[in-house]
Symmetry: C2
Subunit: 730 residues, 2 copies
């Protein structure tokens, strides 16, 4: 067993003006090489004089407020759908902004509503002809004539946003709203806006000679966040990946010029669903994303170039205004960023950061954030808080990912001054930083052992949303639960899309294709499954020896009577939702003993699972049941195999169930034992060049485990403290 040596570097510390001694002491203690500013804390000239690298946060689109005031037509826009209103007589008047937050939105009446807006009869699903409605610019209402009684109508309309959402949230939450100026976000789609932004940036660079790294947060367009005025419905809609807040008449005009066809408001409004990342995207919307993404990269690169010309580095913080900054897009490298910073709660976020190509530095901002109150309103750095325990728990969640993939730096954010009453926390962060730097050193020039096959995750988004479902952990979304399990496994994972599948087949090296999610979701694939070519390619691949792994409603298509999963013949099962009430289900016995359930003889707890699963025949082996229906099944299909889970939730037991099921689906049970750990609450990684075996305890309680070595026979017993780690030289 190797002790963790003390070390230095690769650590970003939030400095705080007025606490120069504390900043310097903690920088030394934690081995920091960089000092950053944070929301609510500045760095003083005293601190910059210490000689550390300096990160400075910069959000360009809300930085030119004086210019924005003079140019209100240059504010960012979006489409909204009015809340539905029922017609009680032939004339119906709708105030489109009713129930929306009027401090966020104002109507765009400068661009002709008759041209840009649409009115829908949502009872029939049909658009109301333009001549049957009119906009009253004085009252700011839409009046529909010849409305049909008792039908519900909605207006799709354009708004300007007059208060940028991140600062709005911070100001309102912290009670600063009355004290500080409301900043809107300007829209760089206009040439004059871009000019104003670049002018500001150039001046900023001159005025910040001490800054060594510009930390963009992030580029131009925020994730979508529509606010309401009713305290019971404060956030009617919010999505991490929706391009809704990039839309304007200018963007639509440029799109049409480039793609040769016009988009309309309903392409973005979509019956009020908007284009939520979890839902399967339309081809039209994907075209728009592609168009807007290129725009963001083009202008982003110009900004980055100026930063570098000023002799500084450009890092991007992957949050907030991150639309168009997808680290797994083909164009991400074109920005020219030097580093990517990701705040992390979970292991999948570590992997999301670690595998991004086109940047040299991958940095994690750890939790807890140095704020008095945590994200759920719980006390953190104040009376009643236990920030050390919080830090330990956050660390063991993230560490599972750090064990598998290299990360270059870590850091914290917030107000350093809050740490004074918590010396215990400061000691723990030193330990954590040393642990991180040791793990980083193992990754250097080495790769930890992984299974002799790759897992391919098939979704509508493919590589673009690798290790991402939408924002932070979307609990209950099967794929997000799965990727959190995968993030800590000794298994290489590749994300690919249905387009990739059609063009190139199953990616090379992939032995298990995972398709997971509810019908109609971007994760399961929705209408992609209407294409029989998808079924043909995958079925043939399985027949030749591949493994198809379905979770929830894999390959589900809605609207076909009697058949729901397009891969049903491969899975050997399908799902009904009541329409087969007259059909008996194939009777089966649950197998008590199987490789897949070897560590989970009593069956899984998926928390939520898909009901109505029925077997096609006796070839499908049921390994576990939930609520009297098949929950875990396995099937041999020609030379290949299939596995089905009726749901998934991330926990240690299910993670182990998944790992074993992947080995089985790949037909490689023989290879499972090598570098496996008997206790499901522990993980191990073998760094072959360094000859280091790392064993981690993912639990707050102490645990013992037996690690089987690479020959699959010999083993080593290991005892671990709660949150502990063991380094073994072999």
């Amino acid at each position: 067993m190797t002790a963790i040596p003390e070390s230095q570097g690769d650590f970003t510390l939030p400095g705080e003006a007025g606490y120069e001694d504390l900043t310097l002491n903690l920088a030394r203690k934690w081995g920091a090489d960089t000092i950053r500013d944070s929301d609510g804390s500045r760095i003083s000239p005293e601190i910059t004089r210490f000689g550390y690298d300096i990160y400075s946060t910069l959000c360009l689109v809300r930085s030119i407020n004086e210019w924005a005031k003079k140019n209100p037509t240059r504010l960012q826009q979006n489409y909204l759908m009015s809340f539905p209103v029922v017609a009680e007589r032939a004339s119906l008047t709708i105030d489109p902004l009713n129930r929306f937050f009027r401090e966020q939105f104002v109507l765009n009446t400068r661009d002709d509503p008759k041209r840009w807006w649409q009115v829908f009869d949502r009872t029939t699903g049909e658009e109301v002809p333009k001549k049957q409605w009119s906009f009253d610019p004085k009252r700011k209402t839409v009046t529909i004539s010849q409305a049909k009684r008792w039908h519900r109508y909605t207006v799709n309309f354009l708004v300007f946003r007059i208060w940028e959402e991140i600062s709005m949230y911070n100001q309102i939450t912290n009670g600063w709203a009355d004290k500080e100026e409301h900043k809107p976000a300007v829209d760089p789609i206009y040439p004059d806006t871009r000019k104003a932004i670049l002018r500001f940036l150039d001046q900023w660079l001159v005025e910040h000679p001490e800054t060594t790294v510009v930390r963009f947060t992030s580029m131009f367009y925020n994730f979508t966040w529509f606010w309401g005025d009713d305290p019971n419905l404060r956030y009617p809609y919010n999505d991490w990946g929706d391009y809704a807040m990039t839309v304007s008449p200018r963007s639509l005009g440029l799109f049409k010029k480039e793609f040769g066809y016009a988009l309309c408001s309903e392409d973005f409004v979509n019956g009020g669903l908007y284009n939520n990342t979890h839902n399967a995207p339309s081809r039209r919307y994907r075209d728009y994303m592609d168009f807007m993404h290129r725009f963001v990269v083009d202008f982003g690169r110009q900004c980055v170039e100026r930063v570098r010309r000023a002799g500084k580095k450009a890092f991007v913080f992957y949050d907030d205004h991150w639309i168009g900054v997808e680290p797994y897009s083909e164009r991400f490298a074109d920005f020219g960023f030097d580093g990517l910073i990701k705040c992390v709660f979970n292991a999948f976020e570590v992997r999301k950061c670690a595998h991004a190509e086109g940047v040299k530095t991958h940095e994690l901002r750890l939790h807890p954030y140095l704020f008095p109150t945590g994200l759920k309103g719980e006390p953190t750095f104040q009376e009643g808080g236990n920030p050390t325990l919080d830090a330990k728990n956050f660390w063991i969640d993230a560490r599972r990912g750090i064990l598998r993939a290299p990360i270059d730096r870590i850091g914290l954010g917030g107000r350093l001054s809050l740490l004074e009453p918590f010396p215990d926390f400061c000691d723990y962060i030193k330990k954590l930083a040393d642990e991180f730097r040791l793990l980083k050193s193992f990754h250097a020039g080495d790769r930890p052992y992984t299974a002799p096959f790759k897992v391919g995750v098939l979704t509508s988004w493919g590589k673009l949303r690798s290790w991402i479902c939408s924002g932070h952990f979307a609990h209950g979304v099967e794929l997000n639960e799965l990727i959190e399990s995968l993030a800590g496994m000794p298994v290489d994972v590749e994300f690919f899309s249905f387009d990739d599948l059609r063009e190139k087949g199953v990616p090379r090296g992939v032995k298990v294709v995972l398709n997971a999610g509810r019908a109609g979701s971007a994760w399961s694939g929705g209408p992609e499954w209407e294409d029989p070519e998808v079924v043909e390619i995958l079925s043939g691949w399985v027949a030749r020896g591949g493994g198809f792994f379905g979770v929830g409603e894999p390959s589900a298509l809605e609207g076909r009577p009697g058949m729901r999963f397009q891969m049903a013949p491969v899975l050997g099962l399908d799902r009904e939702r009541g329409e087969r009430f007259g059909h008996a289900r194939y009777a089966y016995r649950t197998e008590k003993s199987h490789f897949i359930t070897g560590d989970l003889p009593d069956g899984p707890d998926f928390k939520r699972h898909v009901d109505g699963i029925y077997l096609l025949d006796g070839e499908t082996r049921v390994l576990a049941e939930l609520a009297g229906e098949p929950a875990v099944t396995a099937r041999s299909v020609k030379k290949g195999r299939s596995v089905y889970f009726s749901g998934f939730r991330f926990n240690p037991e299910n993670t182990r169930l998944l790992l074993r099921a992947l080995y089985w689906a790949a037909g490689r049970e023989d290879a499972y034992a090598a570098w496996s750990s008997s206790n499901v609450r522990t993980d191990c990684a073998w760094f072959p060049k360094k000859r280091k075996l790392v064993v981690i305890n993912n639990d707050a309680e102490p645990h013992q485990t037996t690690v089987t070595l690479g020959d699959g026979k010999r083993s080593r017993k290991v005892s671990l403290d709660g949150h502990g780690i063991a380094i073994i030289d072999l």
Copy 2:
């Protein structure tokens, strides 16, 4: 309190040859006026000499077996869909009957397969052109050329049925299959079959002078029951109302002549779903039902006429071959039956029988059936059985319905000889028969008190399936659970269809419209909700003071993004199934105290409920939650009201919740107290002309209750034994 007097009559007793004394003794003890034969037991001449009325069971279509053997093309037919087969190469051969029970089905190869069959690529959903497949009459297989690899294919094909299902079931279950001749059912759609049947009937009538009532079981076509050859999938499909087993080239030819368009195999096969009663029917299938129904009534009337000409009565047993014998069809009276006999487990089956028009006598066959073993394989009339307790429990379930609606007769079936070791049972049946006759006497010339409003149940089937979902209690089907509750309530119920609604609006007297079921079901309405007129009529009716009551997925339409319940504005809520992951839900507080939940402060147990319910605004009041989501809601809508339940299960507590919710939805909470019983396990009925108050205990344990009298103020305390009844003169 009135004691139950001893009485005579209105009771049908199963006689048994060889047990003449027992038959006579029990007939006297129970006050029987009629003796019947049963499956497995005959009546001897000694018995017929006692002078009782004699019921003789008759199933015409399986009675002319010698003729059937000579005329194999006159056997009944149906379409089947082959089990799907995946193509592994361009040529795919399918044995259509594979996995079906070959003692039930043989291929109909006499009618050209190329004309009558269809082959489908179920991966694309498209029909395979006729020229791309062929039938090999020698091997009895279909070969598809140019099959697409890995697509799954099915054949829709015609079969003759060579073993009638009811006798097949009885013979196989009782181990008689090898001993007795296999009887098929002949198809009266052919004129020569009808002639043979009538010839048989005439002769039978001559040969059975002792018979006073012919008990048809039932007419010509059995409910649909497809058997498989795999013991793990013995009954691939079974539906109480599907007309599948009436189909033949001749019926399709006659249909086309009459309706002017042709039906095809897929109209019946429907992707393997067939036309299950629980699923919303297509217009084409309803046309076919109408056609076949008229045929059954026409030929049935001819049979009934012969019975009456022979000086006998004709009763119909509503089970088995009951297709076309729907007691709530417009044509049912045209049969000319004298009586309708319904076997009952539950109260809704009592109501189903009681309200049938066009017959004079409404008779119930009670349970337990006099057989050694019960329907679930449990011992009944043998060692280990407790038939008296069984009889009591069956009786209290049925009695709830008998309290509300008049029934003319009751009876038993089976083998009387089994009763000898159970004198206790014989005593109880005497008591039960007296209790029945007393309740019948109260209904005579009187009607028990009912609420001052009617409940209208809106379904795709309307009046045709009044008090019916499909066969016996379809547990878990919301509407079936609801009608079992309704069957014992002092509330008049009317069933109506979407066509009725469009033609005549909400029926007169109806103050609450109930729409219940999953999306796509016949009970919720499925595609009927695409018609905006339905929404318009109902919304306007509610606005003028009506009550709309939705359960499960009322008014649900699938496939519209973002909007599922067409009546969402009236209900004030809608359902999402994951597609609104980015949408916040309207925040609410559950109201602890409300008229509707007055007897159920801790909320309901629906066993299964619909998830994803979200409120549209703050006007919807949440009265109970399940799993953190609204489960019981109430809303005022202009002058009307709406109520929503996210599920329903029949039990005493939920029945009371439903009753209160109906009064609230009708705006008649003021009238609720009159003739209400405080204890949810008891019911009461007030017969105003007879001035009798009847209080029943629906539970095996003793109960006390307080009945509020008609003025809504005065009350009466009542104590009841387990299964007990109290008669109070007022």
